[in-house]
Amino acid sequence: EPALIYDLGGKFDKSFNEAAFNGAERWAQETGGTYKEIEMQNEAQREQALRRLAEAGSNPIVTTGFGMSDPIATVSKDFPDTKFVTIDGFVDPAAHPNVLSIGFAEHEGSYLVGMMAALASKTGTVSFVGGMDIPLIRNFACGYAQGAKAANPDINFISNMTGTTPAAWNDPVKGSELAKAQKAQGSDVIFAAAGGTGLGVLQAAADEGILSIGVDSNQNHLHPGSVLTSMLKRVDVAVYNSMKQGEALDTTPQALNLASDGVGYAMDEHNAALVTPEMQAAVDAAAEKIKSGELVVHDYRTDDTCPVATF
Amino acid sequence: MGRQATAAPFAIELKGISKAFGPVQANKDINIAVPKGTIHGIIGENGAGKSTLMSILYGFYKADSGQILVGGQPTPIPDSQSAIRAGIGMVFQHFKLVQNFTVLENIVLGAEEGALLNTSLGKARQVLKDLAQEYGLNVDPDALIEDLSVGHQQRVEILKALYRQADILILDEPTGVLTPDEADHLFRILRGLKDQGKTIILITHKLREIMEATDNVSVMRRGTMVATVKTRDTSPEQLAELMVGRKVLLEVEKTPPAPGKVVLSVQDLRVRDEHGVERLKGVSLDIRAGEILGIAGVAGNGQSELLAALGGMTKASGTITLNGVPLPLSGPGSDGQSRREAGIAHVPEDRHHHGLILDFAAWENVAFGYHNDPKYQKSALFMDNDALRADTEKKMATYDVRPPIPTLEAKNFSGGNQQKIVVAREVEQNPDLLLIGQPTRGVDIGAIEFIHKQIVALRDAGKAILLVSVELDEIMSLSDRIAVMFDGQIMGMRDPASTDERELGMLMAGMTGTSDAKLKKEAY
């Protein structure tokens, strides 16, 4: 029986963790299997949760969030027969053969929604609200800024991070205040890559009558007519695949990107009216170029810099 | 208010009132009847149950059983509201005033007219003016209570009752905090009220007041009502005997003093309270070995501060020397520990708040203040609890503390026995100087005798003793010299053999010369 551990934002953050939940549900529905799940409440709990699940025979144990990788590195040694998955995190596969690390090319997806933001903006200013200030989130911001600049070289870009701890994933009040502040500075499209905090951003954007962009899951339905699109990070696919492979899980590290459909953007009836065919055509064209390798989006994490923005 | 002047001869009748506080039976089957338009005195030892009885009448406590009749009608008084409605007003021993409210606000509290304050305050102001004229009860309606003298606060309490149109006024030890002169003024007011047809119940310890002011007097002893007599048919001696249940010998047997060298010398001692008000305004005195110096005075005139400063409980300025060695009055070395090390023992005025830790066992209390004493230490780190318990057993035997159980918590001893524990602890230290405040407050006659003997014995052993008491009798009978304090100063030094209560009373009221009586402070 597989197990799934959600990170601090909580299972129903409508974003990152909820994507994981959706993947697990899909697996459960398709196979009729059951899985164990735990939501993390604080940092110190992580190891106990891992141990307890491993002790009880769960396999594989899928976890979301980079915070799990260090505890996994410790626990996996005590349970060599159990497979662990760290989504968004990284554990050295040479030293820990039973751990699978799954990463995403967030900059590629963000590039696409950044283009769309710039094309939709009437004020010429677009903005970004990040969760915890870490390279991972800066990578979102950097990809977004690159896309926006590509679509409109004169675009003005604003970025704010919510905080420096995991609490930043779950602070909707701050999210909405940051959104309001960005609106006051002229922004009319806000991309939130901030877990539960993003809900506050999307809410504020809807309240203030400007556009927002969701993240990880498809968040278009949260405020129809206000969410321009969502940058999809297919955590659900990662979870689904891991569970499907079961105990025979292949632990070669994975990097899911646009080409492998690991990231993308969401179109549905909720945002159909917001996205013009021209916008979609421009974005799709860029997507093709990225997939083919013709266009390379800079990955912030490779050198901790961003060519078009500073944080 | 539906009270009509019926022909009932009694304003108040209490029938079979009983009340217990836990194990303490404070009132046992009390019967008393107070005729209308009289002043009725109630006397009894501390703890006899006087305050409890009156609190029941005022609805503050609920009686366990018994009946109250007001104007001949059975009237249940479950709360103070009912008492007020029945025309009863009470001035408590400890005033029930809101300190940071004005006089006016205190008066209308609970007797407001309507939900808004404006009308109530306006009306009260008018009524107050009338009452002031009628009875000579002047107070500034807009003054804050905390700025008023005790005497004025008491007036506010009386005004509160009158404002509520009380026909029956209860006063619980109203003169304990007053100078003789203020007390005289109070009694003039009470007589005025009586002439208006009001009924007054007066609790007091002072037989003189009973004899002068009351029409009838009831005597309580250990929770029971032992007698009610017409005042003009009785005498102070008879009342005292009724109070304690046997003939009382109030004189203390002691030999003439043999004063030696000066043990304590105090020069220009000054103390300020936390509000910066000077409570001790330059006190100077000497106490010699083998001498008891008594400090007389109305409570609140600096005696407590004097004891606190000498005992190291409060900061002070000036100089004090003990056996010629100066002691610091503030900073390091001015605390209670240093004083004890220097040879000063201290029986505090308030045994509950200072002298004892009520939740500690008796044996732990015997070390209190002397916990650093080498004789109670087993090693550098640990205390010798066994030695302490043994010591306690010995002291309990010598001082006849009952029950003689060292492990019993202090709160479970009666007041007199608690006091014996404190006195034993301090006297047995064999100090050079003993500070002793209100040594017999709330203590019964037997214990008083014992404690007085200890004090005299210590004096005869050549020690110096500073005695503070509000009981003039106690001061007069124990002291070798008497200093009278008023308003933070010593008004005069008197020899007990050549003075009397009248002269001391004048000094206590701030009047220095007996011939040209000059008020130092606005008196009553």
């Binding site: 909580g10 299972k11 129903f12 939501e39 704010n160 905080g163 420096t164 779950n170 909707p172 009040v173 701050k174 909405s176 205040e177 940051l178 309001k180 502040a181 006051a184 539960g196 809900l199 506050g200 809410q203 809807a206 309240d207 949260l222 405020h223 | 506080f21 836990g22 005022y58 609805g59 503050f60 406590y61 709360d79 103070s80 509201q81 009912s82 008492a83 007020i84 409605r85 009470m90 408590f92 029930k96 005033l97 809101v98 300190q99 940071n100 409210f101 606000e105 205190n106 209308v108 509290l109 609970g110 007797a111 407001e112 309507g114 939900a115 808004l116 304050l117 404006n118 109530s120 509160k160």
Partner: protein, 322 residues
Amino acid sequence: MDYATLLQVLDTTVRLATPLLLACLAGLYSERAGIFDIGLEGKMLSAAMSAGAVAALTGSAWAGLLAGIGASMLFAALHGLAAITFRGNQLISGVALNFLASGLTVLIAQAMFKQGGRTPPLSGDARFNPVTLPGAEALRDVPLIGPLYYEVISGHSVLVYIAFLIVPFTWWVLFRTRFGLRLRAVGENPAAVDTAGVSVIGLRFAAVAITGILCGVAGAYMATALQAGFGREMTAGRGYIALAALIFAKWRPVAAMWACLLFGFFQALALRPDVVQSVVQMKVPVPLLDALPYILTVLVLAGFVGKAIPPRAGGQPYVKER
């Protein structure tokens, strides 16, 4: 910092000061009556959860508000039972009720909605939406005060205006009515109230009930106006900051408003490190900004901002006979 940014920060200040103000006034009634209440936090939290849940179920923010008040009053009643009836330790009772609220809210929200202890997101009439004050649009272009009126004063939910109106109302109740006189008296000297023929217990329960109502509004505001639903621990220590503001204000209503605005301003600044940075011209660690209200509270308590003397009978149960 330009004017527009300042207005934006002030706008945030008003929003964030509102729950503090409501809780602070709530504490004022209780403490003026002599009952210490460190359980403001828990009452707000329980109210937030109930308001969020009921608003989600009924689609009505007003129904949510009522439910919030109800839940908060339940906790207030418990505090009253412990502190007034059974003369228990008021601090411990407050601490216990905070724990209880912290756990129960998540438990109930999870049982009801199965969304990880959250209530479902609210929209439309299930939230208290901003109201535009009369003339805001018209005055918008008047220099200086126009934007001030439009951005900072207008455009909040009705609960914000209610909260600020309660300030003068509280002043009036406290100092101009019979109830206020008795309330203040019972916090200073309950024996005086008792012997004046007024029920100490009744008064104190009334005060605690008002505390419950106001905390209820504060919690409901959190869940149905400031945010769109209840989330775990969403009050985030506001109850304690409100207490600090109360001490800062020396238990006076108008001063309480200023104190809450000050603390709200600090919270608003913590949301805008960029603004702080541009004003002080150096990088300020965000945790320091976050901790600022707490640090200020300690300074206030230490008396560096003037000595605060609490109601004299505060924190002690009224015991007539033992």
